[in-house]
């Protein structure tokens, strides 16, 4: 036998093996506990006919690979004011056997403008991707998921409180870590007998734990209302006399980096005046008086109401209407 050739063959094998070791764990790997049986059969001629012989059967059991990924499902920093905020994460069992994961939320991430307070970690029990208080189960300490099957994913929510002292545009990160309950450690660490069906559990390349960051940005938004009046009397002047027309302007300035929801501006018609039908307008565009599909309604009895809905910070909305002095 040529030793040189053999050595070269071994070296080629090695190079390939090193590459294999460096590849990531297969999320769709064969299930832990699977028994791999190997038997060879040979036929040969013994001079009188064909003989068949079987080898022994070698059986190996596939070990459980411990691997997990955590990702933030938030599309970007969550806009939040002081009070409760919810961050959304996804846990995926990247191993090849059933495993539960302990969850740890860390509010003190380097670079934070402020730190939130972790209130709880909840599981998306109804699977709708949105935290539903009273429906989605809040985990008790130590916060641990149910057993996830291989490749199974789970959406979890980290509920935090933003402190009252947080300033507009301040940012804060929260780090969620998931660790295999069987154990974590350096890749290749073996937990004998701790895998599926009594096999070993082996720590995967990721150390059997993973973390992801969810971000918050504080958006404190205020609405400042300013009301002004302009008078035109029946004689072309500005005297306040019976028959004079008063144009009221309500200016709603939205101040801050966030936005306000469900903003409705209402005003009563002052005593001793009468609303001039058809004069309600938003930013110069007329609104009907009737309660209908447009955002405004007005009457002498109930006053005016304009539903501005969600309004972004940094904008100003002007509402105008006329009354006559009785």
């Amino acid at each position: 036998m040529n030793t040189k050739v053999l050595n070269r063959s071994l070296f080629a094998t090695l190079t390939a093996a090193a590459l294999t070791t460096g590849s990531p764990a297969l999320a769709d790997g064969i299930s832990a506990g699977t028994l791999i049986e190997n038997t060879a059969t040979a036929t040969y001629d013994d001079g009188t006919g064909v003989q068949t012989v079987d080898s022994n059967t070698v059986v190996v059991r596939v070990d459980e690979l411990l691997a997990v990924t955590v990702t933030s499902l938030d599309p970007g920093p969550i806009s939040a004011g002081p009070g409760e905020a919810v961050l959304t994460f996804e846990i995926i069992n990247q191993g090849n056997g059933p495993e539960a994961f302990e969850l740890t939320a860390n509010p003190a991430v380097a670079g934070n403008d402020f730190d939130t307070t972790i209130e709880s970690i909840a599981v998306d029990t109804n699977g709708n991707g949105t935290f539903d208080p009273g429906v989605d189960v809040i985990l008790t300490r130590p916060e641990t998921t149910d057993v996830l099957q291989a490749d199974e994913s789970l959406t979890v929510f980290v509920i935090v409180t933003v402190p009252a002292g947080a300033s507009d545009t301040d940012e804060s990160d929260v780090e969620l870590t998931a660790s295999a309950v069987t154990g974590t450690g350096a890749p290749g660490t073996t937990f004998a007998g701790a895998g599926a069906d009594g096999g070993d559990a082996i720590v995967g390349t990721g150390g059997a734990e993973d973390s992801a960051i969810g971000s918050l940005i504080v958006g404190i938004t205020d609405v400042e209302l300013t009301k002004s009046a302009a008078v035109i009397d029946p004689f072309g002047g500005t005297s306040v006399v019976p028959g004079s027309v008063v144009t009221f302007t309500i200016s709603a300035a939205i101040v801050g980096s966030g936005s306000v929801d469900n903003l409705t501006v209402t005003d009563a018609i002052p005593d001793d005046t009468t609303y001039v039908p058809g004069t309600l307008a938003l930013n110069g565009a007329p609104l009907t008086d009737a309660t209908d599909t447009d955002v405004g309604e007005a009457s002498d009895a109930t006053g005016i109401s304009v539903d501005l809905g969600t309004v972004a910070g940094g904008t100003t909305q002007a509402i105008t209407f006329d009354v006559t002095i009785d």
């Binding site: 093996a17 764990a25 013994d46 001079g47 012989v53 073996t190």
Partner: protein, 167 residues
């Protein structure tokens, strides 16, 4: 006999042997001349060690880890315990569905990609996809591995092996 030795040696080099082959001349038959071939399957792991100079070497060791992605060596040791040659020896090893032939397996290895119906070297084999079109077979398609040995002399033994990766 020269031809036989050459074939056995070739098979060994191709198959990453650990047991040196001992080709002996056939001894004169004393009683009824008959071969008696025995087979012994084994599974080994590749253990890599790096010395102080950074040189990596590999050896086959008893396997301890069986996770997806792990590389193993499936071996077959043979020995003719009889007193006459066994000829036209064909050893066939079906692959369990949980493993695939490793991409660095010897290109000259005889394999099947159709459940053991036809055999050849991988580069010559085709498989049909869902649409009925054929494509070149890959290591992932291999269902059986086969070795052929023209003759095994009495007392002769050897080991052949192929690398697999747990899916």
């Amino acid at each position: 006999m020269t031809k036989l030795t050459k074939i056995v040696a070739a098979a060994l080099v191709a198959a990453l042997p650990v047991v040196p082959v001992t080709a002996q001349e056939a001894t004169a038959p004393t009683e009824a001349a008959e071969p008696n071939v025995s087979l012994q399957s084994d599974v080994k792991a590749y253990k890599e060690t790096t010395d102080a100079d950074g040189n990596v070497s590999s050896e086959l060791v008893e396997p301890t880890v069986f996770t997806p992605g792990t590389r193993l060596s499936f071996g077959l040791s043979y020995e003719n315990k009889g007193n006459s040659p066994a000829t036209d020896v064909t050893a066939t090893n079906p692959l369990h569905e949980a493993v695939q032939l490793a991409p660095d397996a010897d290109p000259a290895l005889i394999v099947s990609v159709d459940g053991g119906t036809t055999f050849g070297i991988l580069a010559d084999l085709q498989v049909a996809d869902e649409t009925g079109a054929t494509r070149p077979a890959t290591h992932d398609d291999v269902t059986h591995v086969r070795w052929t040995i023209a003759a095994i002399a009495p007392g002769e033994s050897g080991r052949v092996a192929f690398p697999v990766i747990i899916r």
